[in-house]
Amino acid sequence: MLEVQGVSAGYQGSDVVRDVSFRVDEGETVMIIGSNGAGKTTLFRAVCGLLPLSSGRVTFLGEDITGLPAQKVVRRGLAFVPAERHLFPQMTVEENLVLGAYPDKPDSEVLETVLELFPRLGERFRQLAGTMSGGEQQMLAVGRALMSRPRLLVLDEPTTGLAPIVARNAYAALGRLQEQGLTILVAEQQVPLALAISDRGYVLENGAIGLAGTSSELASDPRVRSAYLGIA
């Protein structure tokens, strides 16, 4: 579904990620794990069209989307939820969700699914997004992305700034989306959470893929165990 080949990207002429390749197949949940500063965010921003690539190719649903700007990428069915969420703080939850379907009218069925997944958003429907808690804002960011009826949901560190229990709830919601057949790509520092729901994973170290495998392979790899799971 998504094929990333030899992508390099960065800021002001110096590449943060170099020659990264990975792929996500239909129906899979794939994680990219790595420590702070490994280049996860840069990689995702480049794939989603927020950052120009310095080299490489991105193919989505069989079409070349390399260099396509983010506003066009989302219309092809690839929705990105950044770690900073980028909600519209002075708009209500409702307005944020409605904008998620832009330029179409919001689909009432999709809206219902989102409110079923996150009942809290229904309770806060008329509240301004900027006045909600971090966990609620994360729900809204995911909900807004779902309103575009994506084929692939890309999440960058969805647990940033969330308390452990809120983070676990966020992953429970991702698990339900997975059961509904949504393809998910997630970058995470909190590796145990991501491991539990993903089929495969890649380890990003200093801007390059250091290791790849199924989740169980990664969970038993001594390097992953010591560096990301805290098991000696």
């Binding site: 983010a70 506003q71 950044p82």
Partner: protein, 285 residues
Amino acid sequence: MTASILDGIVLGLQFGVLAAGLTLVYGLGGVLNLAYGQIAVVSGLITLLTMEAGLPAVPAALVGLVTGGVLGLVFDLTILQPVYRRHGEARVLLSLLLTLGAAFVIDGYLNWRYPLQGLNLRITGDPLVILGVRMRMGSVVASGITIVVIGVLFWLFRYTRLGRAIRSVIQDEEGSRLVGIDPQVMMRLILVLSGVLAAIVAITRSMVAPVNVRAGFSLTVLGLIVTVVGGLGSIPGAFLAGLVLGIINSVASSYIGTFLSLIILLVAAAITIVIRPAGLLGVRE
């Protein structure tokens, strides 16, 4: 007193529309358009020339509105292109320099070709008595049009998909791109809208007092003062500040003197900035 307050409201509504055009462009794209007043003046002049060519006032005014919109579009497609390639403070600064240059060129041309022209739309009709004050028909019609324009703007931004999309770019540009909105397209639309608003100000203003070809810079300065007091980027702020400053201006003019009114406006702006640096309804960064 009632008379000068009513006059102030008439003026204040126009101040609000004037400032809305500036504040939208700034809020959306971090661009300050110092040729804004010149867009208003050129639109007024084209309205006048169309009338002199024999068209009635209403179609001529429509030609004026189209002129304003087209000028906004031309700005977007030409001198603002290098501005869009910069970000943050560099963008504001370059937009100031380039639009100021454009303003000088337009002003120079107008002074050379049409030094004595001024748009003066006389609205005939008996004065209307409002709250015991006789209001000239011109003021009443101008205010009526302005109130309708404000209503339309409010509806556009509150209830339409396009309006929401524009507000989303003002609140979080990256977020708007992630939901599929192209900020560049929104900016183009807003520049057209801003040009039309400038034309509306020139046309409604000329129903109250003549708008001559040299009014460009003073219109821009007035718009900037109102924008800053209301809070850069805030549309409701622009209208609130417009009303407040319109009333201050009008009351000060009749009790102190017209010659001091601009200074009094600047003092009011300075006091606002000291007390509330973000403006009346501005969002603190």
